[in-house]
């Protein structure tokens, strides 16, 4: 017979499971929402934390044309910088021109490909100098000709693009078809803090940004060996005057990180809100059901008390039944969390926060935490019912001469329809 309490809890659950279906579904839904929210949070983190990947990871100093708003870490500089002003300077090991043009990438079917997280899709020049190039090819090769682009992994995944596929780029003044020649990552990430990147040959980008030959929106500079970035920044700022803004790449990366962490706080708030609602609804429904369950089983509990079950054993019986419910709801809830996460992701993507390119998370946090939350929610919700069950007087087993009815196998509406 084993543990009698476990046996009674199991049989009670098995006998009354139809009536518990609604509760089970509510608990399962609650856990699914928790699991889905967490899944969304983790996937957002993965997507946004493109934020700790920066295209400036190899550069030491950035020379940006015109005045730059330090608050807008992703804004394109409004001035021009001549590349040849910098290439031959002492203390400069390498320099590469950079420009960014906001574009809309679409599949050939016309469906737009959303950028990672809240970012944008930017057309940027491929950087061929290995001292400055932050782009690692996952597949294919660098864009070599006009009409060829390399894309970051997130964009390729979100747009279901492979090397050799064609995509549509909507530029400020034209729309054109380009061929994907390569897929890249940046510091192992599928996107950068600014969003997704479409990398084309420098000439193509220069033309799209309508920059005169030899000039760029900004120039990435690699300091010569032994020259500190801060020293080089000072010298360049002094020599180039107020027509440009000179910043260390590290300070820009820092600003990008801060912006990403602010984004993370917003996501944590949303996830916290969703999880709180889920926990509240789950606890409310489960607590109600178990309260009713104890009232309906008063005689059974009283009988157990009369023949010697201690108050603690009676409370444990209720908690065990809640544990069975919680365990089933947890397993189902964690599984249901995946489609729930997809739904949340799709809803957020409509508002421009697209993390669909990230992989479903199957780590222990994503799986264990919601299951644990499910057990805790059902146990917490059954606590009051268990406490009430403790105080059922054994005399109540003797008050009625009517035998305890079998638990209904069909919900009320079905029973009514059947009769």
């Amino acid at each position: 017979m084993g543990n009698p309490l476990w046996l009674i809890a199991r049989r009670s659950f098995a006998e009354g499971w139809v009536r518990l279906v609604a509760t089970l579904l509510a608990a399962l839904g609650s856990i699914a929402l928790i699991a889905g929210s967490l899944q969304f949070a983790l996937r957002s983190q993965e997507a946004v934390s493109g934020g700790d990947a920066s295209e400036y990871s190899r550069a030491d100093v950035l020379v940006q044309g015109g005045a730059v708003d330090p608050e807008d870490v992703y804004g394109a500089p409004d001035g021009r910088v001549r590349l040849d002003q910098l290439t031959s300077r002492p203390g400069v090991a390498a320099a590469a021109g950079d420009a960014s043009v906001a574009v809309t990438a679409s599949r050939t079917s016309g469906q737009a490909i959303m950028a990672a997280a809240e970012g944008r899709t930017l057309l940027r020049p491929w950087v061929s100098d290995p001292q400055l190039n932050p782009y690692q090819l996952d597949a294919g090769r660098a864009p070599a000709a006009d009409g060829e682009v390399a894309v970051v992994r997130h964009l390729a995944r979100a747009g279901e693009l492979n090397v050799g596929d064609t995509m549509t780029l909507t530029l400020p003044h034209e729309t054109r078809q380009v061929r994907v020649s390569g897929i890249v990552n940046v510091q192992g990430r599928g996107a950068v803090a600014a969003g997704d990147l479409v990398l084309a040959s420098p000439e193509t980008v220069q033309r799209a940004a309508m920059l005169p030959a030899g000039t760029w929106q900004s120039v990435w500079v690699k300091a010569a060996p032994g020259v500190p970035a801060e020293q080089l920044r000072g010298e360049l700022a002094r020599d180039l005057g107020k027509a440009v803004t000179v910043r260390t790449a590290a300070s820009v990366r820092q600003a990008q990180l801060a912006a990403a962490s602010g984004e993370g706080t917003t996501i944590a708030g949303i996830v916290g809100m969703l999880a709180s609602v889920a926990i509240f609804v789950g606890m409310f429904v489960v607590a109600n059901t178990f309260g009713t369950l104890v009232r309906q089983r008063t005689r059974r509990l009283a009988l157990l008390g009369a023949i010697g079950a201690t108050p603690r054993q009676i409370a444990r019986l209720i908690r065990l039944e809640a544990l069975v419910l919680g365990a089933i709801a947890s397993v189902g809830g964690v599984l249901a969390g995946f489609p729930v996460a997809e739904l949340i992701i799709r809803l957020f993507a409509r508002d421009g926060f697209d993390v669909s390119g990230s992989d479903p998370q199957t780590g222990w946090i994503a799986l264990t935490l919601p299951a644990l939350a499910g057990i805790l929610v059902t146990q917490g919700a059954a606590w009051q019912a268990a406490y009430r069950a403790r105080s059922v007087s054994p005399v109540q087993a003797l008050r009625s001469t009517v035998a305890e009815p079998r638990e209904r196998r069909l919900p009320g509406c079905c029973s009514a329809a059947r009769s």
Binding site: I307, P311, S400
Partner: protein, 251 residues
């Protein structure tokens, strides 16, 4: 009042109730169910408690068995005073030293007959000698019914399962509250015969509340309650003698 002086315990006394008072409510609305009831119960004795409706016989049994609290007075089983025990202490005492048979069978419908029979022992995490289990099950004719659920058993069979459950832990006192009340006369006679056999062959102490003179006549003695007090006692009762006392009590 009868037996009030028999409070000195000796080895033959398994249970002693002394000036037990049970009052429900308080103030003007207070109702006295028991008014200073005292009685002793000898080991291996079958005692029936009778009385008109509302005489307090079931309340007395509940107080003796630790199912209900007393307002004042003491109930001592063996060397334990029930009135000083916590709810947990009372539950453990009922589990370890007492057995119960109720009018409405009181079996768990979700368990089989065998699981119901073993339930009290399992709650105490106590192992039952296989020989004793077989003896009880065979004596009660339940061998073929062990795998059946209560709903698949007749009333008489269900009550036999309840008797088996009560006997399996070899309780110091077996309490029976109207055990034949829901049975036809044949099934009722069978249950009474089992209780009698337990007393005669295994020195089981039985305290039974009943309103049935035929059932009371199977006991060794009958205590008569009226208006919350013991008013008479009959040793070696016969059906006619019990009838006569009851007629007298009911006026």
């Amino acid at each position: 009042m009868i037996a009030t002086s028999a409070v000195e315990r000796d080895s033959d006394q398994v249970m002693v109730a002394t000036r037990v008072v049970k009052t429900y409510g308080s103030g003007d609305s207070a109702v006295s169910a028991l008014r200073g009831v005292s009685a002793t119960f000898a080991r291996g004795q079958f005692t029936a408690i009778m009385g008109p409706s509302g005489s307090g016989k079931s309340t007395f049994l509940h107080c003796l068995a630790g199912l209900d609290t007393v307002t004042s007075g003491t109930v001592v089983i063996g060397d334990v005073d029930l009135t000083g025990l916590s709810r947990t202490g009372l539950a453990e005492l009922r589990r370890d030293r007492l057995g119960f048979v109720f009018q409405s069978f009181n079996l768990l419908p979700i368990l089989t007959a065998e699981e119901n029979i073993r339930l009290t022992a399992r709650l105490a995490n106590r192992r039952v000698e296989p020989g004793w289990f077989d003896t009880v099950v065979n004596a009660l004719g339940l061998r073929e019914r062990l795998r059946h659920r209560p709903t698949e058993l007749s009333g008489g069979q269900q009550q036999r399962v309840a008797v088996a459950r009560a006997l399996l832990t070899r309780p110091e006192v077996l309490f029976a509250d109207e055990p034949t009340g829901n049975l036809d006369s044949r099934a009722g006679a069978e249950v009474l015969s089992f209780l009698r056999t337990a007393v005669d062959e295994h020195q089981q102490t039985v305290v039974m509340v009943t309103h049935d003179p035929v059932a009371a006549a199977t006991a060794d003695r009958v205590l008569f309650l009226s208006d919350g007090a013991i008013v008479d006692e009959l040793a070696e009762p016969s059906v006619d003698a019990v009838h006569a006392r009851m007629r007298k009590l009911e006026g």
